[in-house]
Symmetry: C2
Subunit: 135 residues, 2 copies
DNA sequence: CAAAATGATATAAATATAGTATCATTTAAC
DNA sequence: GTTAAATGATACTATATTTATATCATTTTG
């Protein structure tokens, strides 16, 4: 079971790195070198973070990225939702029909309650909190 | 994020169904009809449950399956481990090398603690507990 | 020996994850 | 105004995982 996919993971690393730079403009090239993330992959990830207004892209020569929010306000759940979609842990497997199975449905209830706990825990993790732990 | 894959889910349904039969021999054919699970898929799932001694296969004509444990002793985590392998929620993505990234490692610590909670919750769910909820 | 069950196992199809490549656009410096 | 260095948009490829399907062998009862 995988809670966090690789793009979420890379995004978090990039965001932590940017937060450490305290507002200095950072280029994708620099982060590729520092974080050893495949270039094309990281670029796409940064673009997605830009579209979701997590970071602010500056175009043109001398361009780059800065966080568009304080690191305290960027939560792990925000990043996960961008790259992994819904955080539902128990997506019904009978997508377009009503679930025909009672057994599944009460198992599901249990899982939904576990899910609520997990999401709360993840929401409590911000880029800033990872930053301070990194020291 | 998917906590439970489809084979785990089907396995749980089959086990709940068997538990409801209170020791009566049940064939794969019967469960295919009752539970609307694809035949070949369910057969393979039952075989795997047999290999892991969760149920006891009876060969030959008039054969079938019975649980080999009381339903209280079959935990959701047992079934998940059979079909999904390790329950580690945070498998390090740098499989064969030491993780070169500090940021990831402290994020990982947080996730490991969430994982412990989740596994405990799942371990508390047995086939018997699902059975009583089903009534 | 035939029918009805499971055992073992190979293969295929569909989906999700991970990664690459290309061309367009913007901006600063000369 | 041209060039270099950055991002934007987007299409594509590769790999792994999930979700099955199919086939033939073996066991057992009648």
């Amino acid at each position: 079971m995988k809670l966090v996919t690789r793009d979420t993971d890379y995004a978090v690393r990039a965001l932590v790195y940017m937060a450490q730079q305290r507002g200095r403009l950072v280029t994708s090239r620099e982060m590729v070198d520092e974080l050893r993330i495949p270039r094309a992959f990281l670029r796409r990830i940064l673009q997605q973070l830009g579209r979701h207004a997590v970071l602010k892209p500056i175009k043109g020569k001398m361009g780059g990225f800065v966080l568009s929010l304080p690191a305290e306000k960027i939560r792990l759940t925000d990043v996960m939702r961008i790259f992994q979609g819904s955080l539902e842990i128990s997506e019904c497997m009978f997508k377009k029909q009503v679930c025909p199975n009672r057994a599944r449905c009460f198992l599901r209830k249990r899982i939904v309650s576990i899910e609520a706990y997990v999401v709360n825990q993840l929401r409590a993790i911000s880029i800033a909190s990872l930053l301070t732990e990194a020291r």
